[in-house]
């Protein structure tokens, strides 16, 4: 039991032999398959089931952040649960922030471009049907205003992100230490039992 949780805690550290994921390598060489975990059994669309480790996915098109599917071991300790919850929360909070950021940036940019173009009396698309773009000096006005309007929002996000990041790392450290301590003591106990 401890070994499994140790494995989970060590998932960042897991020093397995160099085995590539099947999907990466396209060639389902049987020898490789046998030594890997079976391909994900049942899952909801596009989200694998975490059997032994967490999974990290492709970047979300809105927030550009990668979602993680967390592995929940059966003997998850309080600390591990806290860590997993914090990571999940932070991931959701980050996703929220960046989605909003990207959306508002793109909307602001489009409205700025169209307002500038209409001021100049130009249409949105030129003769070839391509969208008109503004020069870098003009766009710089928008970029600066975007940064200025969002200044407090950004600095609040920064502080919160630094705090969460630090806390997550601290918890990870504690979990890892606990797991290694447990595995060491178990090993000692086992050798003592064997000696007897």
């Amino acid at each position: 039991m401890a070994s499994r949780s140790a494995a989970a805690a060590f998932s960042p550290f897991a020093l397995s032999a160099a085995r590539r994921l099947v999907g990466l390598n396209m060639r389902k060489c049987s020898s490789k398959l046998a030594t890997q975990q079976p391909p994900k059994p049942k899952r909801s669309p596009f989200r694998p089931e975490a059997v032994t480790h967490d999974w990290i996915g492709p970047p979300n098109p809105l927030s550009n952040l990668r979602p993680v599917v967390y592995f929940v071991p059966e003997d998850e300790s309080e600390l591990q649960r806290r860590l997993r919850r914090l990571r999940q929360e932070t991931e959701d909070w980050n996703h929220e922030f960046w989605t909003q950021q990207n959306i508002s940036f793109n909307k602001g940019k489009d409205s700025f471009i169209s307002s500038q173009l209409s001021e100049k009396g130009l249409s949105l698309r030129d003769e070839n049907g391509r969208r008109r773009t503004l020069g870098s000096e003009d766009m710089a006005v928008f970029y600066k205003s975007f940064l200025d309007t969002n200044r407090t929002r950004h600095s609040d996000y920064n502080k919160e992100w630094y705090r969460r990041n630090f806390l997550i790392t601290l918890l990870m450290g504690r979990v890892a230490l606990k797991a290694s301590w447990r595995s060491i003591t178990e090993r000692c106990r086992k050798t003592r039992a064997d000696d007897k």
């Binding site: 160099a18 396209m26 967490d54 970047p59 098109p61 550009n64 870098s136 710089a140 975007f146």
Partner: protein, 480 residues
């Protein structure tokens, strides 16, 4: 036969061989592998015979065998790719042999029924119709009409399979670790930092001690690795949103944040200890100061104020000072001059770089001069490029180099100033790029020239009156 050097020929041969392979898969495992390897070597081969329509029907995706090639006609270049981010990242994220990335191309064309692995965007994305590959549509039109139901079943699975492949285990792959560490430590930047420290060391007017030189370089390298790792650890969500940085190891989840911090500590503690104990405490202090400035001042400041560029310039200026103090053990004007070169150089370098990244910086919330004060950005770059000329002239006055140095370095300093002036006047992408690339070779050249024009120690000692001049010839003759 499979190793023919002629790439086109091998392509056509490959196709005919594939037909045979399809029939005799169990017997041809070895040949399949060599074929795949051959294709791996020349990914551009796909272009040559992919456009030959009649060959398309022979492409097979055999799910049950090792011949797992999923060939797709190369998409027309003018398509709007909806899942571009997905696609692009998948290509970069997965180190699939060259054949496989073709799968990731979102070809929204309905004619790709022959390939079972086609992730069909066509049913769901009507807006990609505006870029059909006209030459392909004619031939496959007939084929399409015959098998619509077949497509949907296949393609949903295929799309799911493709998206599944983009999920990776959050587990450390030991084989990848060296590469991951290199990226985490920004090894190329570290190499430049060590070079500048080595230049500072070499310019110091003391006998060259190779052991101390090596130890100082190693210590600087480790300190730089630490600083870069912590920087990446702090900036994960920002890096994910910028094109330049979205493939960093922490963003991709190749290692955990704890692992990155442990790596940083494992580099930093020995590095600073090495510098403080094996070299001298001043150098160790400067190394620690630099790490602190970079991680705790520059990195947070990037999002708060444009002053980050000046702090960053100081961070860049400290390594040559460290090199000098490693050699001499004390902070001298010469050390500050070497630092000054790096400090002035940073501005044209960074301002030009950041000029073309303004949109990314703005969206990511970074406050850079190029975004908020574009005029100042260009002025500062120009000012500091001209400052380089002034500093070069100062070098002989401080006894760091002979008078030949300002003369010899004038051409390259004038050139970078000219490019900075062009950038100042035009302020467009092209002039910014030119300035940036110039700065990349300008600095090593400058340091090399300084090294070649370094003031010989004998002269310095003579001038300081430390050594009695030889009685036969007057001291002046030695200075020629």
């Amino acid at each position: 036969m499979y190793k023919t050097p002629c790439s086109r020929l091998s392509g056509l041969i490959g196709v005919s061989v594939k037909q045979k392979l399809v029939q005799n898969v169990p017997e041809c495992k070895q040949t399949a592998r060599s074929l795949i390897q051959l294709h791996k070597r020349d990914p551009s081969n796909w272009l040559t015979y992919q456009h030959l329509n009649f060959l398309k029907r022979q492409y097979v995706a055999k799910n049950s065998s090792e011949l797992h090639q999923r060939a797709v006609p190369k998409p027309a270049p003018t398509q709007t790719i909806v899942d571009e981010r997905d696609v692009g990242v998948e290509r970069r994220v997965q180190r699939i042999p060259a054949i496989a990335p073709v799968v990731a191309d979102t070809v929204p064309q309905s004619e790709d029924i022959t390939s079972q692995a086609r992730p069909a965007i066509s049913p769901s994305e009507p807006d990609t119709d505006d870029a059909p590959a006209q030459k392909d549509s004619a031939s496959s039109g007939s084929a399409t009409s015959g098998e619509p139901p077949h497509i949907h079943v296949e393609t949903d699975e295929a799309k799911e399979a493709r998206l599944d492949r983009q999920w990776k285990l959050l587990k450390v792959d030991v084989a990848e670790l060296p590469d991951v560490y290199a990226k985490l430590a920004k090894i190329k930047l570290t190499a430049l930092v060590v070079t500048s420290a080595a230049a500072g060391f070499a310019m110091a007017p003391v006998p060259f001690d190779p052991l101390i030189f090596f130890v100082a370089s190693l210590g600087t390298c480790l300190a730089s690795c630490t600083a870069n790792s912590i920087n990446q650890y702090f900036e994960v969500p920002f890096d994910s949103n910028m094109n330049r940085t979205k493939n960093r190891p922490l963003v991709r989840g190749q290692i955990s944040p704890l692992h990155a911090v442990s790596f940083a500590l494992a580099c930093g503690v020995p590095g600073i200890a090495l510098l403080s104990l094996a070299v001298n405490p001043l150098t160790g202090f400067l190394g620690a100061l630099n790490i602190f400035l970079y991680t705790c001042c520059y990195t947070p400041l990037k999002r708060l104020s444009i002053a980050n560029t000046w702090v960053g310039a100081v961070v860049g200026a400290i390594p040559p000072v460290m090199g000098w103090t490693a050699a001499t053990g004390c902070l001298e004007p010469g050390a500050l001059l070497m630092g000054g070169f790096l400090y002035c150089w940073q501005f044209p370098h960074f301002n030009a770089l950041s000029w073309n990244l303004r949109e990314d910086y703005s969206r990511g919330g970074y406050r850079m001069m190029s975004v908020t004060h574009p005029g100042m950005c260009k002025r500062v770059a120009l000012r500091h490029s001209l400052g380089l000329v002034g500093l070069a002239a100062l070098a002989p006055a401080l006894d760091v180099t002979t008078w030949t140095f300002p003369v010899v370095s004038l051409p390259i300093n004038l050139y970078i100033s000219y490019l900075a002036f062009r950038f100042y006047r035009r302020g467009d992408r092209d002039s910014a790029r030119k300035l940036f690339f110039c700065s990349l070779w300008h600095l090593p050249m400058l340091l090399l020239l300084a090294l070649t024009c370094k003031k010989p120690r004998r002269e310095q000692e003579l001038e300081a009156g430390l050594v009695a001049p030889p009685t036969a010839s007057p001291p002046l003759a030695l200075q020629s």
